[in-house]
């Protein structure tokens, strides 16, 4: 049958589908689903709300977390997912191994120079809208390793962070609270402003040709991605 002929069957009879619909709606509200909303709206199948608001509500209640272990804090993070603390109770407990399936990234640990570009990459691979919880002092300032030659002074130098959970490590309860706060923010449609971070991935060729860049010119390709750390300006 060619596609420009309308399918006859649609015109033949509409009885079956109307029947089903009628029987679904029935007479008055269906008391099998006796919810408050049902009572309020009667038999109408529509709930009136702003679409945005609805989406935010959904987002806040079904968060897929990225399974992302970096350092000591990740042990407490696993405990938060596991038995006893069970983050799943709050609609936020499905750790996804791939960033492409995740909405929320908990950054549980110290970021060092070598890992910075990789974390940025993982963050970039997550689909929008995405949210980040910084767990532990290390993601706030570098924590106990703040003075280290190799330690990035807080994850916020590289990616935007919505919620900081302080502690070294934060207890699981604290992390649960942090996640609950994040849900609240998502529901209210807030997220952290996206600004240019001090440490970004850039193409090597785009960097200003200073002493360091010239020294490395023979080792790095022009179009390789690099991250440049200006330790002297770090907090």
């Amino acid at each position: 049958m060619s596609s420009d002929n309308p399918r006859q069957s649609i015109y033949d009879s509409t009885a079956p589908s109307t029947d089903t619909r009628d029987s679904r709606i029935g007479e008055g509200p269906d008391d099998r689903f006796n919810s408050k909303l049902r009572e309020a709206f009667g038999s109408t199948p529509f709930i009136l709300t702003k679409f945005d608001k609805f989406m935010n509500w959904v987002r806040g209640n079904s968060m897929f977390m990225l399974q992302f272990g970096i350092a000591c804090c990740s042990i407490e993070m696993i405990h938060t997912y596991a038995i006893k603390h069970d983050l799943d109770r709050f609609g936020a407990g499905v750790p996804r191994a791939s960033p492409r399936q995740a909405d929320v990234m908990i950054v549980p640990g110290t970021i060092v120079s070598k890992f910075g570009p990789r974390m940025k990459r993982v963050y970039d691979q997550m689909p929008e809208p995405k949210f980040v919880v910084g767990m532990g002092s290390c993601t706030i300032s570098g924590g106990p390793f703040q003075e280290g030659y190799n330690v990035v002074k807080g994850a916020e130098e590289i990616i935007p962070i919505d919620i900081h959970v302080p502690g070294c490590p934060p207890r699981p309860e604290a992390l649960v609270y942090g996640v609950a706060k994040l849900q609240e923010r998502i529901r209210n449609g807030e997220s952290s402003p996206v600004v240019v971070k001090p440490y970004e991935l850039e193409q090597f060729g785009d960097l200003e040709k200073d002493e360091l860049v010239q020294k490395l010119a023979s080792e790095i390709d022009e179009d390789d991605l690099v991250m440049r750390y200006n330790w002297a300006d770090s907090p």
Binding site: Q67, K84, K114, F115
Partner: protein, 551 residues
Amino acid sequence: MSSGLERTRPVETTEDDLEALLGDRALARDDHLNAPGFVIRPDDVQDVLSDLRDEAGFDHLSCLTAQQYEDRYESIYHMKKYADPTQEVSIVVPTTTDDPVSESAAPVFRTADWHEREAFDLVGIDYEGHPDPRRILLPETWQGHPLSLDYDQEKPQLVTLSEHANPIQPDHHDAESDTMFLNIGPHHPATHGVLHVKTVLDGETVVDVDPDVGYLHRCEEQMCQQGTYRHQIMPYPDRWDYVSAGLLNEWAYARAAEDLADIEVPEYAQIIRTMGAELCRIASHMLALGTFCLDVYGDFTAVFQYAFRDREVVQDILEDLTGQRLMFNYFRLGGVAWDLPEPREEFIAKTRDFLDELPAKVDEYNDMVTSNEIFQVRCIDTGVLEPEVAKDYGCTGPVARGSGVDYDIRRDDPYGYYSELDWDVITDDGCDNYSRVLCRMREVEESAKIIEQCLDLLEDWPEDEREIQANVPRTLKPDADTEVYRAVEGAKGELGIYIRSDGTDKPGRFKIRSPCYHNLSALGEMTQGEYIPDLIASLGSLDIVLGEVDR
């Protein structure tokens, strides 16, 4: 007391024997608190080390410490015997500042490969004849050597992302064959943190494995060198092996520093330490088991959650004892921070309850894990590590014991209260992934035995003799140029610390010998010619924790 605790030790190599063996290759003596030290020429390294191994039986290159003085660089090879780790010798190799080149020991001991790469990376000594002289912890493009004296921390640095080149492009590893290059990590659920394994595959078989570490190099040695002995260093060990093994790590520092400053620890405190440390070991082995099952058969529901349930109980007990769930900071030089929590009876009863339930839980694990046929098929005869190879790579802990190397510092170089208690060292000669798992599970039972005995002792200890700390001065300033290397049995193996004092209240050099680092270096050997899933299983059975690998 117990049969397991006495071992036959080889004939002792006396200092005279050593002097005779080294002859005029020994230029001078440079004794350390733990061992006699001999200074040798930088081009005699291979010669001396192979003589020590073959003639005198020093088959364990435990640690290599590199450091820079005003007038020279120095590499110290700390050698021991697997058969008797109390027999030690340090080989000191000085080189000049303008041309720090020293002969590589990698042809003699394979473990020297990673040791020397690290020494080059952080301190800047070149090892001549090293098979693979690259940086290991810091990125390839790093400028300068951070633990050398003239390093400027304010200088900018560049880090590339080039390892993530397109995997479909023709790989540069081998132009001839049609192998495929595969990146595993640094963000991958099976690497237990941030490890990057560069793998070359031929079909589904692994031809080459190059673990790329350093994604968590948090400058622990620098941090410890900046802290004062008395209080500022103790919090850091908790963060090396962070899988609840905190007290075991703290003990490593406590042991080294107490020997350095000559501090006696009261017996009562030793018992508390022993008990706490073994609780940590249980928690750590539980996590190893849980994550291993997660790796091997993706079991996120049963075994993994059970293991975490049991860890929660241990962590509760440790929290009662120390006040923290994970980062305990409970040891002090000369003792522990405080006594058992009041009411004592309640704490002891709670711990006893845990121990009473443990055998049933272990049975349950055996039901679900080790006697599971699928599990056995995955683990038996995969990831084989022969004992001689294990020794060559400096493997220790459950990894070595799973290969039949009977080596446990708690028994062989006793500290704490272990020598007074009745327990056994577990070994298994399967050499495969399965025997490493078995070893850990049985060690959990041994640890429970130790805790039980400690509890008995603590319960009956007379109230007015509960001395928890020795009298230690507020500031410790050990004499300048005293050097000590001491190790304890951490959850993953021999965790050693070298400290050199420079007369101030902070260490002049603080070097950490991490068991995971060396266990991981054997990965390539274990997985060559196996399938990719076996690589993952082998990695899991090594039970590495990246905080300790990278430090």
